[in-house]
């Protein structure tokens, strides 16, 4: 049983050497393993910043509050320590790393997370199984990390890593954006498989309700102006589908 707590987190985006801007203005959220929390909100509300700040992206700095994973202070950990502690971030725009083969990268990553190098044959079988599940062509293993991949291919590779690394808490940042319906189904099935095979808490950041038809949330939070503006059950997503975010954008503007 894992408890992931975000308490009063404020964060800045670092724009230049001297320039910064506060994006997160006090975020509180608790996710237990087995739960799926959808974070929904208009563009620019700070959803992605929350994801990146938690993962330790160099462009963001948390200025106040705390993030705890089973009571351990995540903010005192380096980026790779956070991942080894059980945090995973599926990125909206996965990074291309030229010349580093996908297979080499995945093996290094699995070795680091599991604490020992997997047996080569076993690992190769495991990898091939996951790739097949996600309809990823075998030739991708030899290619550079995300190099020349289409948007949809990159997203499937993020979920491939999710399935391989089996994190305690998965933060999925707009994994559904830019996917057609078929790709969305493949990716959603991957997320559901990961949820079924190991106890995992999910923070599912999305702009649209579409993915929630495939990945069922237990809780829905509306994110606006750098904080959670409203929380509820799945019915909140339906309300958003009908009403849009206007109410929240206006509320923020009048503050």
């Amino acid at each position: 049983m894992t408890k992931f707590e975000i308490r009063g987190v404020r964060a800045d985006v670092l724009i230049g050497a001297e320039e910064r801007e506060e994006i997160l203005k006090g975020v509180d959220l608790t996710i237990n393993s087995g739960e799926t929390h959808a974070i929904m909100g208009p563009n620019g509300s700070g959803k992605s910043t929350l994801a990146y700040a938690i993962a330790g992206h160099p462009k963001y700095e948390i200025t106040a509050g705390e993030v705890l994973l089973d009571g351990e202070n995540v903010l005192e950990m380096s980026v790779d320590e956070r991942a080894r502690a059980g945090l995973f971030l599926a990125m909206q725009y996965p990074v291309e790393v030229p010349g580093v083969s996908m297979s080499n990268f995945l093996r290094s990553s699995v070795t680091a997370i599991r604490g020992e190098a997997p047996k080569l044959r076993q690992f190769s079988k495991e990898l091939q199984g996951h790739m097949k599940d996600l309809s990823i062509d075998g030739s991708f293993a030899a290619r550079g990390v995300n190099e020349g991949f289409s948007g949809g291919e990159k997203k499937r590779h993020e979920i491939l890593q999710l399935e391989l690394l089996k994190p305690k808490i998965a933060v999925l940042d707009e994994t559904d954006s830019g996917l057609d319906v078929d790709a969305l189904k493949v990716v959603s099935e991957g997320i559901n498989r990961a949820k079924a095979t190991h106890e995992m808490g999910v923070m599912l950041i999305t702009h649209y309700t579409r993915i929630l038809n495939y990945v069922k949330p237990d809780h829905v939070h509306v994110f606006a102006n750098g904080r959670i503006a409203e929380s509820g059950g799945p019915e909140l997503a339906d309300a958003l589908e009908n009403e849009g975010y206007e109410r929240f954008v206006k509320a923020g503007a009048s503050q």
Binding site: S78, G99, L165
Partner: protein, 389 residues
């Protein structure tokens, strides 16, 4: 950034004058080139003192350099004395060292002439290994002619110790495809000033990989011109300049014919005090030509403090009918975002750095289609990386 970056105004009228400043000098007469003093545009990045006399041509006499050629079926190789009419038909020396080397290489032996028969497609590469046997001065000359519609790979390898200047001619006849891998794998004290002159024929394709790892000072000038439409030249380069090493690459692509294409991509890494890399990328798009497609790119990765990079793209366009022309140059440290991505997957910082650095080299090395060479180059890169990791 150099003052002559960008598009040049063209002086009309004087019929005798060459069109481009970049192409002004070309002569077999050594006396047409004054002894450089280091202030000239083409010499200002080169530490002349470390050329050990190659630039003035005094006392070039006591070196011993051997040339060994292994050629597959379909390829002949022979030697030819200075004065052989086949030599020097494809170029005019563009600086004093090149002119000296052409005039005097005969004192050190004969030129190496490699000929790929027309239509031949040898399965294996041609290996030309040039080895310096003692730290003396010498000149050399190599001519590679790829016959019509042939398809071949030539590996030109420099090793050992020498103070060496040479001219290499690549003549790619119509419809031929020639791939050249030039590996500067000199011992640490060697000095090498080399010119590689290429003529690309109609619908011919020239692909070059220049890999410079060794030497105290290596200054290579690959120059490409076209003899027919539809010619294509790709110049890939990789250098790893370690402590105190000077690696200088000066490419010139002369789009003197319509509908020709070129790509220049050189990337390098520097590590250690006094490591100095110079990249000059000259591209001329000639008067009256149309349909030129050209792009050049240089990237540099500084792995430690105390290194220096000079990266200067020059583009001169003398026509309005260009299909594409551009350049880019970027120098810096490892990309934070690359490291972040790998580390966000649990990979510790040290290992993430190692992976990204190796990836930087592997991206280019993987394009070389000779597997044993790929492995060897990667192993040498590893060895150099180990000095600072």
């Amino acid at each position: 950034m150099a003052a002559n970056l960008g598009i040049k105004e063209h002086s009309h009228g004087a019929g005798e004058l060459p069109v481009s400043r970049l192409d002004v000098h070309g002569s077999f007469d050594v006396d047409d080139f004054p002894v450089p003093n280091g202030r000239e545009e083409e010499w200002r990045f080169t530490p002349l003192r470390r050329l050990r006399g190659l630039h003035d041509g005094r006392d070039i006499k006591d070196g011993k350099v051997s040339v060994d050629v292994t050629a597959p079926e379909g390829v002949t190789h022979e030697t030819a004395p200075s004065g052989d009419p086949r030599l020097g038909t494809s170029f005019l020396p563009t600086d004093r060292v090149s002119a000296l080397a052409f005039r005097d290489f005969g004192s050190f032996g004969e030129a190496t002439v490699v000929t790929v028969a027309p239509d031949a497609k040898p399965a294996d590469p041609v290996f030309i290994k040039i080895t310096g046997h003692e730290h003396g001065d010498a000149y050399g000359h190599v001519l590679v002619r790829a016959g019509r519609h042939s398809e071949a790979t030539v590996v030109l390898e420099y090793a050992g110790d020498a103070v060496y200047a040479d001219n290499v001619e690549f003549i790619v006849e119509d419809g031929a495809r020639l791939t050249v891998i030039s590996l500067q794998d000199w011992d640490r004290d060697a000095v090498h000033v080399g010119h590689q002159y290429t003529k690309v024929g109609r619908d011919a394709k020239f692909k070059s990989f220049v890999v410079t790892l060794g030497g105290d000072l290596v200054r290579l000038s690959p120059k490409v011109g076209y003899t027919g439409t539809g010619g294509d030249a790709e110049l890939h380069g990789l250098y790893f300049s370690g402590e105190g090493q000077h690696h200088e690459h000066r490419s010139l692509i002369d789009h003197n014919v319509s509908h020709t294409r070129s790509r220049v991509e050189y990337k390098g890494a520097l590590s250690g005090e006094g490591a100095h890399a110079v990249w000059i990328g000259d591209v001329i798009i000639g008067e009256g030509t149309e349909g030129t497609d050209s792009y050049e790119h240089n990237r540099n990765l500084a792995l430690t403090d105390g290194t220096r990079v000079d990266s200067v793209p020059n583009l001169e366009i003398f026509t309005g009918e260009v299909e594409g022309a551009g350049h880019a140059s970027a120098s810096g440290r490892l990309d934070d975002i690359h490291l972040f991505y790998l580390r966000s997957r649990g990979i510790p910082e040290d290992e993430a750095r190692r992976l990204v650095i190796r990836g930087y080299f592997a991206e280019l090395i993987n394009r070389i289609e000779v597997p044993e060479l790929r492995d060897r180059i990667m192993a040498e890169v590893e060895e150099k990386l180990a000095e600072h990791e």
